[in-house]
Symmetry: D2
Subunit: 285 residues, 4 copies
């Protein structure tokens, strides 16, 4: 309980001996591995691993010093984190407040272990009167077709200033530019209000109603240059019937969006999510 607890999330080209090398280094430090999951993607030839381990006295820097040569030898891309270190997160929203409100609720209740370093919206602060923001910095950054580049620059500046490690589009109804999407690759999660790849584009609940599907869903995905095509992190659905109006679907959808986005963010904050080409690897809780 009171010991130092560390999380490694790493991936590299697969080859024999990786688990042995890493676990032996950790054992050499006198650490105990509490949890370990790995995945060997025979298609992409890549290897993914997440390990949680602890020690009473060894520090993060000592762990890093020992692991660096091992990981370098394996040509690993890796992160090492003290479990107590909370990632800095920036939340972006627009008119709808249900995802924003839910993320803040879960942050306060301890479900989401993160530091919310700011909220950005293209709507003014009083849009969110019902939500308790406390003293989280709020940035109203209005946007028009003409001012889009400048507005995105403001966002980029805020990411830099705050040191945000994750950007969450909590029903932020603006499409990021290609350049911005690429610069945020692997660090920006969006919630799309349909069960992708069905119903891309605008007004997906109206499309779903029109098509007469019997389940609706939501999809949390990494933002990439390809709109609605980013690697999927989490999805869920709910049953509907012929009685549901488009407005009823929007209402039911809010619940799905809230929980799908919250789960995706949670997995990310726990270093469970890896990009793997246009797909993801997500180690279960």
């Amino acid at each position: 309980m009171d010991s130092n607890r560390f999380i490694i999330a790493a991936h590299c080209v697969n080859r024999p001996g990786i688990v042995s090398a890493v676990s032996t280094a950790i054992f050499g430090l006198g650490c105990n591995i509490l949890d370990s999951q790995q995945f060997d993607d025979t298609e992409s030839g890549r290897f993914f691993v997440r390990m949680v381990f602890n020690h009473d006295t060894v520090t993060l820097d000592e762990v890093r010093a020992v692991l660096e040569p091992v990981m370098s030898e394996l040509d690993m891309e890796w992160t090492l984190r003290d479990r107590e270190h909370r990632r800095k997160v920036l939340l972006l929203a627009s008119r709808f407040d249900h995802c924003l409100g839910d993320l803040l609720y879960r942050w306060r209740s301890g479900d989401l272990e993160m530091d919310v370093v700011g909220i950005i919206s293209n709507y003014p602060r009083d849009t969110y009167k019902q939500i308790t923001m406390g003293d989280i910095p709020f940035h109203h950054l209005p946007i028009t077709k003409e001012t889009k580049p400048q507005q995105e620059q403001q966002i980029t500046d805020l990411i830099e200033e705050t040191g945000a490690e994750l950007v969450v589009l909590a029903r932020y109804m603006q499409i990021l530019s290609d350049q911005m999407s690429r610069s945020l690759s692997g660090k920006c999660i969006n919630i799309h209000h349909s069960f992708l790849p069905g119903f891309k584009g605008a007004r997906p609940y109206h499309q779903a109603h029109e098509r007469g599907v019997k389940l609706i869903g939501a999809t949390a995905h990494f933002v990439t240059g390809d709109l609605d095509e980013g690697p999927i992190i989490e999805q869920d659905v709910e049953r509907i019937s012929h009685r549901d109006t488009p407005e009823g679907l929007v209402r039911k959808g809010r619940d799905i969006e809230r929980r799908v986005l919250a789960r995706a963010v949670r997995y990310y904050l726990q270093d469970r999510v890896f990009m793997n080409g246009n797909k993801t690897v997500v180690f279960p809780e």
Copy 2:
């Protein structure tokens, strides 16, 4: 228990007084309404109703005689059925036998109250060695690009000869011609191995694997001229992960296909399903 039990399934342009007119006619016969569900589609302006009622002595013909003028006055399209009358069903299959086997199992166990009047396949009978067909007539109707019109004519003839009221494509891997699809409109249910409208076309599980979705599904729909676009009757999904291979998805998918198709057929056999433009109304059990 021992009384006569009748089911009305009817639809017409909505207008006030329909429920009153029908229920009063049924009451006039001395019948007791056991179950009644209705739906008033404000978009299409159509009204749908299903009623189950019983009587100790009144016969189907007597009920029909009393209802005919009422229904005619309302300009209803309607069916009236004695609950004991089992619908005649023709099953079509190809190489995969899981849906066929499951439907036959459910028929024998009493889950599906129908008369299976025949099984048609473009594969020979010994493809289905593992399945107990009993004395259900089996028709091997091979098909090539050239013989498609003739083969479809053979199917049409069999439908006529057997008096089949429903045709079920239980993973029948041939695309029906436009003409045949239209002639079977509202009487032919197909199972598609994806959560439509995602992954239309061939090899949907491979498409799903490629896209990296986190849930896969299956869709039972009425067959129409528009391939993969028929009115959806039932859908379901199951959770998958990055560990699942395309073959694993196919395996998991078999379970979803079996239960989705069985539910759709069951709803149909109980007169719960109505076409409503390119959508359906399905009254729940």
Copy 3:
């Protein structure tokens, strides 16, 4: 859209002619039935019906005047409500705020059409700093073993003063006395943090962890004198694994409790819920 819309919820001993009598009376008023569901419980011999109907000009009083003799003749217990009339609801909470916060969120967003006439807690107001209560009256009613009768009397007085039609125990961690439970019969909904009848009593998530179940759930039920035995309105579950700690179950459980309680309250507010002995009839949306 702009017409008057009415909802009847009624039940009586079953006998032929009920639907006919009620629908004919409604038709006689020139109203159009939009939705109608009924259930004939062959075990209890009781009949349940919910009808939604509208008219451009007819008023609630006019509808009531016409229906009264019909319903009286049928010996119906019934309610008639203008759809615009929002039911008055009193919320009770204790230390945990997730259900309370969620109900208030859904009330503000329009999911739950009700008038929240007050919040009662045995904890002081600043327990709920994170929740936007606006100007809803808050009543801090502390309770000890000795003061329980007085505290319950205060609650009873508040119900009377506010005219509350529904009392929601939103994780209110006090057991109501037998007398109070009985006086609130059919008007008080509780959320129990387990999938009843499993894990009655205290600390159900710890019990679930101890037993090693693979799904946990929550149950919304009417409060009766029999603790944990009231008629069940709604239940749901979520998958867990051997990795989940009791604390993890509590966290996952919060999500289930929120949505199960919200659904039960929503169904109630829409007159979809009937007590039927120690069970319920819930007409689906």
Copy 4:
């Protein structure tokens, strides 16, 4: 694909260095770890691990020879299996054939990689006319209160003769004696037709109907001396409503039982299931 593939399933008292020791031994053999999952139960102090690894030429005996001293040093209880080795399974059934039929279907279709070495029933063979048993040995072992010890001895003899590694009670409606249960500990899976711990004992669907629950379920568990209290391997549920009769629940339950039992057996056959006191550890697919 054509390489030798091995699976280790092992558990021991937790201590640092286990993963390092095992993975280093495997690496020393020149093998590649394809999949590895572990769980460190901080409550019981036990460590569980499952590893899949392969090699082009190394044989099972060579692997065993190298691992034996390592595992012995760690005081491991462990199994090592060539993935091609199919476990021998004995199926027990009574009057209901849906689970038996489903397991045999999945065995033939390749879902369940096992050798079915026999079917035992207290009902005669012609009970299962609808099921394709092929040439699997069928043993009719009738049972009365008086002959129970002898009948169980016959079962025990068959387990020994066939070398069965797993016994599946596929709705076998006899309660095994304490002695037999204990002797099969960890090797015998039962399907109980309720969502345990709710509705223990007889006629659980009737109990569920009586209680008015909104979901019903099934539970696959290891058989122990404690009836209905064995470690749970898998559970699932399905939504029901007030319309469902007890017979309807039995019908819906059959589907849940089939898939829950099939999943539990599948997990077992893949060495994913460990007993952990009165609970289980199940590594996900």
